[in-house]
Point group: C2
Chain length 587, copies 2
């Protein structure tokens, strides 16, 4: 007999003989009968063992426990009125078992397999094969499968070729820390696991393939945060002879397909575009969540001559003052509440959080006395402040103002429950700076990577005014998460050389590390550009999860361990000898 | 204007204005005109620069060289009669250029970009981005893309979920040599790159997903042969509640889809099945190429009392005598030729190669005198020997007989040009032994891997007669290549423990290395099985290539180097320090 999937049974199957294979979710003994919630990948159906149907089956059913693996034959029957289970897709019927075989036994699981779990994550990771049986995990990986196929089908139809780039590749010091793989054959030689296929996909363009994609594994040996994993999956795309507009439009069409097919949602295109500068000024973030307001307003020009020295000094010393109007919340935030918010912004380097409330058309609060007349009305007008509003200010260096108010904005949105979790706000952040200055190292780094094309009009300032140079780069943001980003790439050798020079590479260093790229740029390299985005994070958002680990089948902990297999582990001395390596004690 | 693909232009486009972007394949100056073979991913079209159309365009065209990247505007015109190029899909038309822009220059390529190349492979690998522009390379990677999508679509429709397993995993000493990745966080800890996702896919079954696949990167740090790469790609499949028959039938349907969609060929199913024993006896190989005859015939029973001591002794000492009838070739193989064949079989440990020829119904040759009367006629009958046939014999240990005649058979087929390269012979090899005895180590190893299910009737002999135990395993063979293989897996803990015991593991060693698997087997593990096959090798056969490296975008050399990027390379002392490692001189 062919197997039937448990979760597909409906009233229309009444009277059919079926063969089920799956797991005992739950067994209940009731009045001489045994009821089993029987589970397979497709769902759950109730199986009933009745001595009038088969005493033998009932006897076996008596011996089974949770998570036993069974094969059940029986007949689909309608449930009696009053016992219909509306929570269950199969709730109108049950299967009356005539025969049952135990395919495998199971020890009592270390935790229950149920939707809402409060089991410690370590236990879930150690027994991942049990955790993954929970419906919300099954659903997440179904979404992952589905989204992956939608993306592939879209790219295939758009003429992209799926291609594989090496995992054993070359270490390059620029960027995050590499995972290294010692070579047994080349003394002192190491491969590195790729942080992304960036150079290889550019070389694919120089190989004339024109449109490439890969769902690629990438690796970074960084200290992990909640939303980082040592290995992660990236949808990696590159095309030749394209404009920024081409890549952005293609990405929008792809995301539209994903949202439609996975979530059944129509999203609007084109996505809004914010310049980096505007994103920072209005949201204090380069990945703004636009599902709620609480926008930052720069009031520097209003307060540059203020009697409130803190504001005035911030502006005159080159910084700025920005504010958020927390509308209608003046009454709900006590001084203690605001003190707590002040602690929050201090984490980001802010020296303090100034505040005003609006009552009967007047500004109130300890610093209200500094704002009178025109300054007060300009302030109210700029912030659109009305009675009952709470105004929060940070006056500091620009980066501190942005970071602290950006974080505060997110915190307030959560506290005030301003976020509609059913919406998906995509947007682009464009007009990025090409370089970032690192004060510790006293040098410029590439804000994206050293292969990003500078804006044509800024090219001349690569060496003399690098801080002013904009990049032909674009990031895609969804609900406050950076989904991914891309750029046009440098496709001419002389510009690439100048870029390395701006990054402080000597000619020899550039040649040593990137000689093959330079040669390839000299071999007939087409103009090209692309994008890459994190699949794990996209799935996290699509599946309404908040923990990136829930979207990865066998993830690692914050200390990069696999608790199930106990990786990483020790190796034999002989394995190290073959690699000409010796362990040393950490200093 | 929208870009048009060069290779798509036909006579029907006559009169259309087009914008082309691509590479200069070749430039010819002829009677004041310039002709450029202009190439993009889709093919080649001839572009003509005529001073009567545009002097400016002609002037630019004069400056361009091979592999320059251009943007050309022009009009599609019919070629004059007599200048039509039938070798070219676009050969009936050409594009009369009205405008041209140089998008990038190119140095003279280190070798020509043409179909048939005799350039040294090292040069091709160093300048891989140039080698990949050749049409046969472009075609190979298009086939790779296409085959990959056919496989995925097939598996998706069959209800399989694509899932990703870790690349940073745990080292297990059983099997080939692992690539190791030192951990920065865990002192003395190492990850290993997976040789296959075997255990993870079994754990996915224990996680209740029932049908899994992955196009997975796998790694083996072995000394390389022509058909091995340190990293390779495997189509990895696993399913729960299945029989061997289910997996084999599914695989046959999948291969049918691949052959149909990629090659336009209908292949016959079910594929022939040979037991391991029959494959070895008839073809001297566990991956027989059945595109030609030259089968081995075991004549041991005929010669066990032979007057020819070499034959008799081989049989009585537990070995065997087998022969190949090289039909009609008696005249064409001189004694010198046969001496050469003898050298060939000695490589496989054979002490010699005996031969007979058939002439006028009689056996001739130096050893003919030993075979008379019934023995001679039995021999001729068994080998179906007719006048003009050459009979080749090896008498030795069974394994030597199989290996040497198996290799000889392949050699003869090449020499006699017996192979029809347009046919695709799939077959299954089944009934494998579960163990292989390694004489050097004096112990049994798992012939496939330690998780393979033994045949139910042999289970009782796991410990006392391991050499007799058969595996529930199957290999798929195509044209003499092992494409892949699979098995049902052990799904019960007690059997898995017995298996480890048979392999000489102590209880502690088994627990230490595979404790997590044993626990998972105890948690409600469903019966399951699967298959995996090498994508690189499949593509090699589909694309009619003979070098596996031609099917991998950026392959490594036989010493596991990437000649383009110079990986593996040295790393900074500080990187090693962070990993608590020190380099040692090789002993």
């Amino acid at each position: 007999m062919e197997r039937t999937a448990c979760g597909t049974l409906r009233e229309t199957h009444k009277g059919e003989k079926v063969l089920l294979k799956g797991w005992v979710q739950k067994r209940r003994d009731l009045g001489g009968l045994i009821f089993i919630d029987f589970r397979d990948r497709s769902g759950i159906v109730q199986v009933v063992f009745n001595p009038e149907v088969s005493k033998e089956a009932l006897a076996i059913a008596e011996s089974v426990r949770t998570e036993y693996v069974l094969e059940v034959e029986g007949e689909v029957v309608a449930r009696e009125a009053g016992t219909v289970n509306e929570q269950l897709a199969t709730g109108e019927i049950e299967v009356l078992a005539s025969d049952v075989r135990v395919l495998n036994k199971a020890k009592t699981p270390p935790f229950m397999i149920e939707d809402e779990t409060d089991v410690a994550e370590d236990a879930r990771l150690k027994h991942r094969y049990i955790d993954l049986r929970r419906k919300e995990m099954q659903d997440t990986f179904y979404i992952r499968h589905q989204a992956t196929q939608v993306i592939r089908n879209f790219l295939n139809q758009d003429g992209f070729l799926e291609m594989e780039t090496p995992i054993l590749t070359k270490s390059t010091p620029e960027g995050a820390r590499d995972y290294l793989v010692p070579s047994r054959v080349h003394d002192g030689g190491f491969y590195a696991l790729p942080q992304s296929p960036q150079l290889f996909k550019q070389l694919i363009m120089m190989s004339g393939f024109e449109k490439y994609y890969q769902i690629a594994r990438c690796f970074r040996d960084e200290d992990l945060r909640a939303d980082r994993q040592p290995e992660f999956t990236q949808v990696d795309i590159e095309a030749s002879f394209v404009t920024k507009e081409d890549i952005m439009t293609m990405t929008e069409r792809m995301m539209t397909a994903v949202m439609k097919e996975v979530k059944g949602i129509d999203i609007e295109t084109p996505f809004p575009r914010l310049s980096y500068e505007e994103a920072m000024e209005r949201y204090g973030s380069d990945k703004p969540d636009t599902r709620f307001g609480l926008e930052l307003v720069n009031i520097s020009s209003i307060v540059e001559n203020s009697g409130f020295q803190v504001f005035k000094n911030a502006v005159t010393s080159g910084g700025q003052v920005s504010a958020i109007n927390v509308e209608g919340q003046a009454e709900d935030f006590s001084r203690k509440d605001i003190d707590k918010l002040t602690e929050d912004v201090k984490v980001y380097g802010a020296k303090g959080l100034a505040w005003l409330k609006v009552k009967d058309g007047e500004l109130t609060g300890p610093i209200a006395k500094f704002f009178e007349g025109e300054e007060a009305s300009s302030l109210k007008e700029a912030l659109n402040a009305k009675d009952g509003d709470l105004l929060l200010f940070v006056a500091d260096k620009t980066s501190v103002v942005h970071d602290s108010l950006g974080a505060l904005r997110q915190k307030l949105a959560d506290r005030l429950d301003l976020i509609d979790h059913s919406t998906f706000n995509f947007l682009w952040v464009i007009d990025w700076p090409l370089f970032e200055y690192n004060e510790d190292d006293g040098r410029y780094y590439a804000a994206h990577h050293p292969f990003t094309m500078p804006a044509a009009e800024d090219e001349q300032h690569l060496l003399d005014r690098p801080e002013t140079v904009q990049a032909e780069a674009y990031d895609i943001v969804l609900n406050g998460y950076e989904l991914g980003g891309g750029s046009l790439r440098i496709h001419k050798r002389d510009l690439q050389e100048k870029m390395f020079e701006a990054l402080g590479f000597s000619k020899e260093e550039a040649e040593e590390q990137f000689g093959f790229l330079m040669e390839a740029l000299d071999s007939g390299a087409p103009p090209h550009g692309g994008i890459a985005f994190g699949l794990d994070r996209l799935i996290m958002i699509l599946a309404n999860r908040t923990n990136l680990r829930d979207t990865i089948l066998f993830p690692k902990t914050a200390s990069a361990s696999d608790l199930m297999t106990n990786a990483p582990g020790g190796v034999d001395e002989s394995q190290l000898e073959e690699l000409s390596l010796k362990l040393q004690k950490k200093k």
